[in-house]
Amino acid sequence: MAVTVTKIPRPDRSLWVQSYVPEVMRGLSITSKQFFKNLFTKKDVVTIQYPEVKRDYPERYRGLHRLMYRDDGQVRCVACMCCSTACPANCIHIEAAEHDDTSIEKYPAVFVIDELRCIVCGMCVEACPCDAIRMDSGIHTHPFYERDTAFFDKPALLELGGPSVAHQGGDMKGVQGHH
């Protein structure tokens, strides 16, 4: 088999560049310009001093989950299991129960999200047919000292929640992001 040889031309550098010293000076002038600029004005420093200064999250930032509630304060979720099915991390645990109100078929007796296992992909929100779960709380998952404190149950999730303006029963009028 013939060997193909690719000839890569040597970079053509003038004696000025090859003699190294002028180029070092050029590099030094750039770094020292930056050094003095930042030493005296801090103009280019991009660091955010985190706990004291917080960065504004973008509008569509996926934060901690929250469960929305109906006008009467009950949980909106109908325990359809769409979110837990869609969840790639398998971290939503729902136990469905029958509701006394006949117009409501089911409701989640238990609704737990393991926030440590969650990969914050947002699939659960996509999957939910009735705007019951959202990730728009703007709170990032904080560190936990104990693993079991990372399990967010229904009351905890509802506490972050709010009333949803969407019509229960499939009418998506008024839901954010839907036209």
Binding site: T31, Q34, F35, N38, D44, V45, V46, T47
Partner: protein, 384 residues
């Protein structure tokens, strides 16, 4: 006799504990971390706080608390010695690394000899009349000062080489070997590059060299080493940086290749001492270059009794002797720190060399250049 000994002890304490060591160890923080952060648009370390001292609790203090925390951490860390290492040498080696870095300071003049009498300025020199000169501002005024420096810096390679060998580890051994090879290569061009300066000054005494740099060429241009030997300055700076294993010549440490080179297997205070010795050596490079090439303690136009503009017997602006001394020591410190700053700047500007490039640069570029520099200087000195 006793006062002499006391004086020497005092000078050693002043130079080592008040100048070399504090600057050297502060550089681990300010030079390496803060300076790099400024160049890279970061803020650098500032989270450690001295909350035990009231009033300082919430101030970052340019990160100095980090440096104290580092020291504390080093002291309390476990001193791990690898299996199969030579325990004796492993324990001695940090001292062997630190010792040359410190004793080199013995010959650095911080100021001219103190004059007890009247100072008369003649031909750009302070001449002491009706009094004696006392050596207050350098630990030892050796006539072979520069040779002493070269001798000691030659010894400093033992620390690295033995550290590498005593650790019983591959990376350490490679680091040790590299550092010996690198030091030998650069020692040659280092000595040869400065030989031109020796020819011009006609002395090896560092203080005398500085005195001669007070000369003004044509009555206005200070005869600093960098003016009369510009090429030698660059070669010497490069060779000295290679000698002290600073990046871009950090082959013996080579973090991206051989972990930490010859001190991979050192921990706790032993590691700190080796690290410190490198920084002290770096500060020493600053002091030595300032002495040979940047006029040492000379302030341009400033002589023993004040500012002289041109070769005049009386000062144009008279200053008391103590003010002159303070100005000159300040100038020397400033020059030292400037060269130090430059070294760190180079470290954060240039990418590392490959090992063969380091050798090429040393043997094929620095050596011929310094030889040529020496020959040309010799001719010029012979003709003038």
């Amino acid at each position: 006799m006793l006062t002499d000994i006391l004086l020497i002890l005092l000078k050693i304490v002043a130079v080592v504990l008040l100048f070399a060591m504090p600057i050297g160890s502060l550089m681990t923080l300010l030079g390496d971390r803060k300076q790099s952060s400024m160049i890279q648009n970061r803020v650098g370390p500032n989270r450690a706080r001295l909350s035990i001292i009231p009033g300082l609790g919430r101030l970052p203090l340019v990160g100095i608390p980090h440096f104290l925390a580092d020291g504390l951490k080093m002291i309390f860390k476990e001193d791990a010695i690898p299996d199969g290492a030579d325990r004796t040498w492993h324990n001695i080696v940090p001292a062997m690394a630190l010792f040359p870095a410190i004793v080199m300071w013995a010959v650095i003049p911080f100021h001219d000899h103190y004059c007890t009498g009247e100072i008369v300025v003649q031909n750009y020199r302070d001449i002491c009349v009706e009094g004696q000169t006392r050596n207050f501002f350098s630990i030892a005024n050796l006539d072979a000062g520069l040779l002493y420096v070269f001798a000691i810096s030659g010894v400093s390679v033992y620390g690295a080489a033995i550290a590498g060998w005593a650790s019983n580890a591959k990376y350490s051994l490679i680091g040790g070997l590299r550092s010996s090879a690198q030091m030998i290569s650069y020692e040659v061009s280092m000595a040869l590059s400065v030989a031109g300066a020796i020819l011009i000054y006609g002395t090896l005494n560092l203080n005398e060299m500085v005195v001669q740099q007070g000369h003004l060429i044509g009555g206005w241009l200070p005869m600093w080493g960098i003016v009369v030997q510009p090429l030698a300055f660059f070669i010497f700076l490069g060779a000295m940086m290679a000698e002290t294993k600073r990046a871009p010549f950090d082959m013996p440490e080579g973090e991206s290749e051989i972990v930490a080179g010859y001190f991979t297997e050192f921990s706790s205070m032993k590691f700190a001492v080796i690290q410190l010795s490198e920084y002290v050596a770096t500060v020493f490079v600053g002091a030595l270059i300032a002495t040979i090439f940047l006029g040492g303690w000379q302030v341009p136009y400033l002589y023993g009794d004040g500012f002289h503009f041109g070769n005049t017997p009386t000062a144009a602006l008279e200053l008391p002797y103590w003010a002159v001394i303070a100005l000159r020591i300040g100038a020397f410190s400033f020059k030292t720190i400037f060269i130090l700053w430059l070294q760190f700047m180079l470290r954060w500007t240039l990418p590392r060399f490959r090992y063969d490039q380091v050798m090429n640069l040393g043997w094929k570029i620095f050596l011929p250049l310094s030889l040529a520099n020496l020959v040309i200087t010799a001719f010029v000195v012979a003709i003038l």
